[in-house]
């Protein structure tokens, strides 16, 4: 936490409501992410974690509520312009472009930036993920699950986001890879990127998070520091297996 701006509110979500057709998926949640933090949203399947991230990222429309990024409302911003504000979403299930090469996937991540900036960032991403550099010409669909996750994260980093939102980065990965992905998240954070993490692996998420919110059927039912929730009885019972 070297940056003097640390601690300033970066993302502020207030009284957010989201519907899927007639289903009220998000019921008036409020939370914030401060500069330099790792914040995690935990909760069971269907609690609304991904819906929240997709709404902040602009893929879904909120029916009411405010989303402010660095003091600027982004609720009405077209989805493809959100990334230029300095916010990147690494979606659930990775959703890399299977038929594009590794390098082309990364280039797409820098779509809103000029080529010189993109070339500079791609070298940094290659440093962070040497595996991607080794395989830059390979068709992305042929990568292993762990490599695909790295590609999805690398692609999100290509826009040089101030805030990166990661949706279930550990999903479907072997335990050793899960550890590796969480190490990478921590190192990204040390390099100055603010992180909003959605995870089913509550244990891992809480252990690296500064703060956390617990979602249950579209509502925030608990919040606190990562450490305090890790030792909270109700959280332990519901999400940590005792």
């Amino acid at each position: 936490m070297a940056n003097s701006e640390n601690g300033k509110t970066m993302l502020k979500v207030e009284d957010l409501n989201v519907y899927y057709g007639s289903i009220h998926a998000i019921k008036g949640i409020s939370f914030e992410v401060n500069q330099g933090e790792i914040v995690t949203l935990i909760g069971a399947n269907g609690a609304g974690k991904s819906t929240t991230l997709n709404t902040v990222g602009g893929l879904l429309k909120a029916s009411s509520g405010t989303i402010e990024f660095e003091g600027k409302s982004i609720a009405g911003t077209p989805a493809h312009k959100v990334v230029s504000e300095g916010m990147a979403l690494c979606p659930e299930g990775r959703r890399i472009f299977q038929r594009l090469t590794v390098k082309e996937n990364l280039e797409m991540g820098a779509y809103t930036r000029n080529k010189a900036e993109a070339d500079e960032t791609i070298e940094k991403v290659y440093e962070q993920f040497p595996r991607l550099k080794e395989r830059f010409r390979q068709i992305a669909g042929t990568l292993s699950g762990g490599e695909q996750q790295m590609l999805a994260m690398g692609r999100a980093l290509m826009s040089k986001p101030k805030l990166i939102m990661l949706d279930e980065p550990s999903m479907g990965l072997a335990p050793i890879l899960v550890q590796q992905i969480f190490d990478i998240i921590e190192s990204l954070n040390k390099d100055g990127t603010t992180i909003l993490l959605v995870e089913q692996n509550a244990q891992m998420a809480l252990s690296i998070a500064d703060r956390a919110y617990v979602l249950e059927t579209g509502r925030i039912v608990n919040s606190g520091t990562g450490d305090s929730l890790l030792h909270d009885d109700s959280v332990r019972r519901a999400y940590l297996g005792g």
């Binding site: 493809h80 979606p91 472009f97 038929r99 082309e104 991540g109 669909g141 695909q148 479907g172």
Partner: protein, 290 residues
């Protein structure tokens, strides 16, 4: 025989150019634009009017026709297909058929059903003789145009920022949006390119077969669709190979069994390909790991 082969390649090249438009739109917007053939017809009329009524030189008329069709493609997409972006593919398909009939009937109103005789705009190019076969100017231009277009499209989708964005949109619109790609604009551009190609196909088709009526584009459109499926829909080289093979099959069948309508063979080929290799000759089969 050589004459048939060359004529087949020439007709096939027209199919290929139409099929490239089909395949671009299908590959990226994931929809079958059955009005594509009728955009060819509009391209034919637009260039015909520019030359015959306005007296414009052929080169200008061709550019004008490309412009008209490009705008038409964008407008059709905006008005007819964009509102159906999240509808079922059946709804989009039926709408496309509706647009096709709409264009044909508008053409019928504007230009009537009397055939227009399209001028041979390549008559100044002297034919060359290869053995027993004579290759006309329009044949040479058609084959050349086909090759140039295929190479240009391959480079465009493979190397340019916009082309890569189109491929990204074709795979996952949501993920493409997250990259900052304007999906609606990208799809518009796809229609613009496909329709511009249709204009070129219209000019070449009408020059080779100078009988221009409102249904001129319908049959070649359907055959080009067969060609695109034959080659593997969504694949650029597939559309070219499919188009040329189909043209050769059609002309050779017409020569060998003149008593049987050659279209029977064309559609028999489609059925056989769909039975044996549903993804087409160069169809993409993607291995996906999760």
């Amino acid at each position: 025989m050589l004459t048939y082969l060359i004529n087949g390649i020439s007709l096939g090249s027209v199919y290929a150019i139409i099929a490239l438009g089909y395949t671009m739109v299908y590959g990226i917007a994931k929809m079958l634009n059955f009005a594509h053939g009728d955009i060819i017809m509009v391209g034919g009329y637009a260039s015909f009017c520019a030359m015959s009524y306005l007296g414009w030189p052929p080169a200008v008329a061709v550019l004008f026709s490309i412009g008209v069709c490009t705008v038409l493609g964008i407008v059709i997409e905006r008005l007819a297909y964009k509102p159906l972006r999240s509808a079922t593919s059946l709804a989009v398909l039926i709408t496309a058929i509706g647009v096709s009939y709409f264009l044909q009937n508008v053409a019928l109103l504007v230009w009537t059903s009397n055939p227009k005789v399209y001028p041979n705009i390549f008559e100044k190019i002297p034919p060359i003789t290869v053995g027993e076969a004579q290759i006309s100017g329009v044949t040479m231009v058609t084959i050349l145009a086909n090759i140039v277009i295929m190479i240009a499209l391959t480079l465009f989708t493979g190397k340019t920022r916009m082309g890569k964005a189109m491929r990204a949109v074709s795979e996952d619109k949501g993920a493409a949006t997250l990259m900052g790609i304007n999906v609606n604009f990208t799809i518009s551009m796809t229609f613009a390119i496909g329709s511009g190609l249709a204009a070129i196909a219209g000019v070449l088709l009408c020059t080779a077969y100078p009988n221009l009526v409102p249904t001129t584009g319908a049959m070649p459109g359907i055959k080009a669709f067969v060609a695109a499926v034959f080659g593997g829909i969504g694949s650029i080289p597939g559309a070219m190979i499919g188009g040329i093979l189909l043209g050769v099959i059609e002309i050779v069948a017409r020569a060998l069994v003149p008593d049987v309508p050659s279209d029977i063979f064309v559609f028999a080929v489609l059925i056989i390909v769909l039975l044996v290799k549903p993804s087409g000759l160069l169809g993409k089969t993607v291995r996906e790991k999760v």
